[in-house]
Symmetry: C2
Subunit: 514 residues, 2 copies
Amino acid sequence: MNGARSLVETLIASGVDTCFANPGTSEMHFVAALDQSAGIRCVLGLQENVVTGMADGYWRIAGKPACTLLHCGPGLGNGVTNLHNARRARSGIVNIVGDQATYHRPFDPPLTADTEGLARTVSAWVHVSTQAAQVGRDAAAAVQAARTYPGQVATLVLPADASWNEGGVVAAALPVPEPAPLDPHAVERAARVLRVHGGKVLLLLAGAAVQAEGQALAWRIASATGAKLMADFVNPKLARGRGRLQLERVPYKSELAIEALKPFDHLVLVNAKAPVGFFAYPNLPSIQYRSDAQVHVLSRPEQDAVEALRALADALDAPEAALPDPGPRPQAASGEPTSDKLAQTVAALMPEHAIVSDESVSYGRGFYKASHAAPPHDWLHLAGGAIGDGMPVATGAAIAAGGQRRVISLQADGSAMYTLQSLWTQARERLPVTTIVLNNRSYKILLGEYQGVGATPGPTAHRMLDLADPDLDWVRLAQGTGVDAARATSMDQCADLMRASFVRSGPFLIELMV
Amino acid sequence: MNGARSLVETLIASGVDTCFANPGTSEMHFVAALDQSAGIRCVLGLQENVVTGMADGYWRIAGKPACTLLHCGPGLGNGVTNLHNARRARSGIVNIVGDQATYHRPFDPPLTADTEGLARTVSAWVHVSTQAAQVGRDAAAAVQAARTYPGQVATLVLPADASWNEGGVVAAALPVPEPAPLDPHAVERAARVLRVHGGKVLLLLAGAAVQAEGQALAWRIASATGAKLMADFVNPKLARGRGRLQLERVPYKSELAIEALKPFDHLVLVNAKAPVGFFAYPNLPSIQYRSDAQVHVLSRPEQDAVEALRALADALDAPEAALPDPGPRPQAASGEPTSDKLAQTVAALMPEHAIVSDESVSYGRGFYKASHAAPPHDWLHLAGGAIGDGMPVATGAAIAAGGQRRVISLQADGSAMYTLQSLWTQARERLPVTTIVLNNRSYKILLGEYQGVGATPGPTAHRMLDLADPDLDWVRLAQGTGVDAARATSMDQCADLMRASFVRSGPFLIELMV
């Protein structure tokens, strides 16, 4: 068998069953091998940042890596920004990047680029597989790297001749590495801090700590000690709704974050990072917690947060504690659209076990409080700050859920334009995704930032921050990609469209004029 | 003044008058400085690969660099693939990449990435300007690097504090570096080869050699010696039409290129590279010329091709020679669309001094022969092979021409999807761009490549190479971005729409069903 075939068979043996792809000439033998072996679902994306973003969303829901198929350095380049986001989300992804044949590369034909250099900027693991006989072994290592706790980007570069040459050998799956062991001293230290300082301690949660089991353990600890709980601002996935914690994230805006963190003498980090500003500002400190606060690390991202919380709860002899009741589920709102009303309406109408992919940027900062009383759902955030991840993540999440969960994709107009090609894949794969584009016709977040510079935008600045002239028409854009769509100018219309879309089998887009 | 202001003033002093931008928070002081200083036209692109591609197109027509404004490593990442194309086109571009403040970067907030690592994969010059006092000096050096013959990608990374801190100093423009000196021995050697082997010599032209003056000199040499002339396959810009040479490029397909180059015992390269396959194939050699042919370098890309050709013509005492008459201008075609008929119709209808941005991929390989008798025009090709450059290049070229030249953007449906956000910028800037999307509902080039593997696509492969299900509707997509559009199913309709669009002041899109 050739190298390509050994690659496909090894991926299947290692548990990879989905390939997000935008292939080119140098990948044709891999495509042919996918044709020959059953067991991998191939999903085409019409631009590579859609492809890599889908793989990110897939991991967050499936909890196992998909592979991508990318064409040479430039194909990887198109997808590199959502790999940045995936790296920040700690998503496991196996990138397969086809490239020039080993003997052809020295001639430097036009598509030749620094593929490894590009890959290294976003990958924890990079390898070039130069011989057919080694492709299988390298593919198994790539999957292992991607599954290294909590998840990593692994990139395997595959020169065309390693793909087409005979001599391929299928490799067995390699063991999934265990999380790094806990530090018992860290558990003891955290327990002591909590016992002594109780109400002045913030337990800052991230990773597995904000899934259902981690939340329940954190609540036990908080109930026993008076500590407060908060989630890191950057959270690729939070378990939310009834039966989950009424958890808020550290606010995005540094002024608000500093205010929120001011009461705490101690921060105990559970797989979280100590809160710092997304950006620096001349008049604000980099860190958002008090400079005299003490920071303790219970567990690092490569350790198991649930195990750490359990050890801590045990060390504190914290009894079981029922999660507080969030009260009645809100009703759908009516009248003029506002951020609060949208949050309320989404909470009112979302089906059970929905997945929310949230790239609503400035409009959606206060979405959480309304959805405590919604049915249980998962909330996916943009983790790396680079807009254009939300729609691909929604698409990949829907694939991972096998079409069995409704995905609600909350999009700002500016970010939606980055990867609108995602809609076509949603249509092709008949995915149950309801996209709500919040059309405010501006980079609203930047208008705020500009004012932070201490000036009102003049005509030049205004035209760089404003998305009007011409107005984007999201209904036509969606229809152009094969996705049915409609415009809503009131919450009543929006609610009606949401209800109707939630019982469709395929995608739908609502353009909400805000 | 702050660093940002010194940057803007230095760019203006160095002759930069256009900024293609997609700013973010870390660039707000630069945006504010653009507001304060007159002299730079700012053009917003809704995704960074549009931004960098526009800068590429701008250089090709203006012959001087624009700057880009990109947001952190991930913003650069989104634009890195069209920077690859620009690098291959040898376009001069000054990238300004705003980044985390120097003191904030160690905290590793989410958008932090390996900005320099990304920049190095595509830039000839990379520098991080860490102090306000040095920003002006560094900006002048960046422009000088971009203008280094024949043109280079230069990337200046600007941490936010270098931008907002006081102490900025405006720097004077640095001299534009001269092309590398010619090698007189190379001229003598080429003259000797031409004298002795005449008709068995191919003069392979690229860069300035395929502009009007270079073509006239090459024709003198060919007429005097019997040598044949051909253009490199990769040509960012060719002067074409009446009064220019009836030049063909080395064919894309290796089989055809090998056939076309078979007659030649000698290749004389004029800023061109020795022809090699775009990709390797198991049954074909990497090089496309005969293995016993001798390759001679008259001039390298960093040398002045026109000067080299003039020296060669003089060494050969080649007399003036009138360019052959291309015959009558073709008429617009009618009936079923075909590639030949489209070429004929474009040639029949294009206004004087039009600019053609050609990313028609598989459909457009034979477009040249019809347009020899068209009015003089410039033809811009995808130079780096990474699809998604054509529409941004068309947009940037229209900006460079100050709205005075009609731009005809020939697009394949697959490549058009990569950077369709370009259309919005065309609408906002009221650019005279006529886009013709050749909707064949497939990655046609890849269907051909797949057959080269020796198999017919099975269902898996078919779904990765096919763009139907659902069909893209380019009329709606264009309208969604604010660009008027219509569909043509016959050449008659297409010709009517072209005629009507050529007298509009703004953009128009024709979806040609092929």
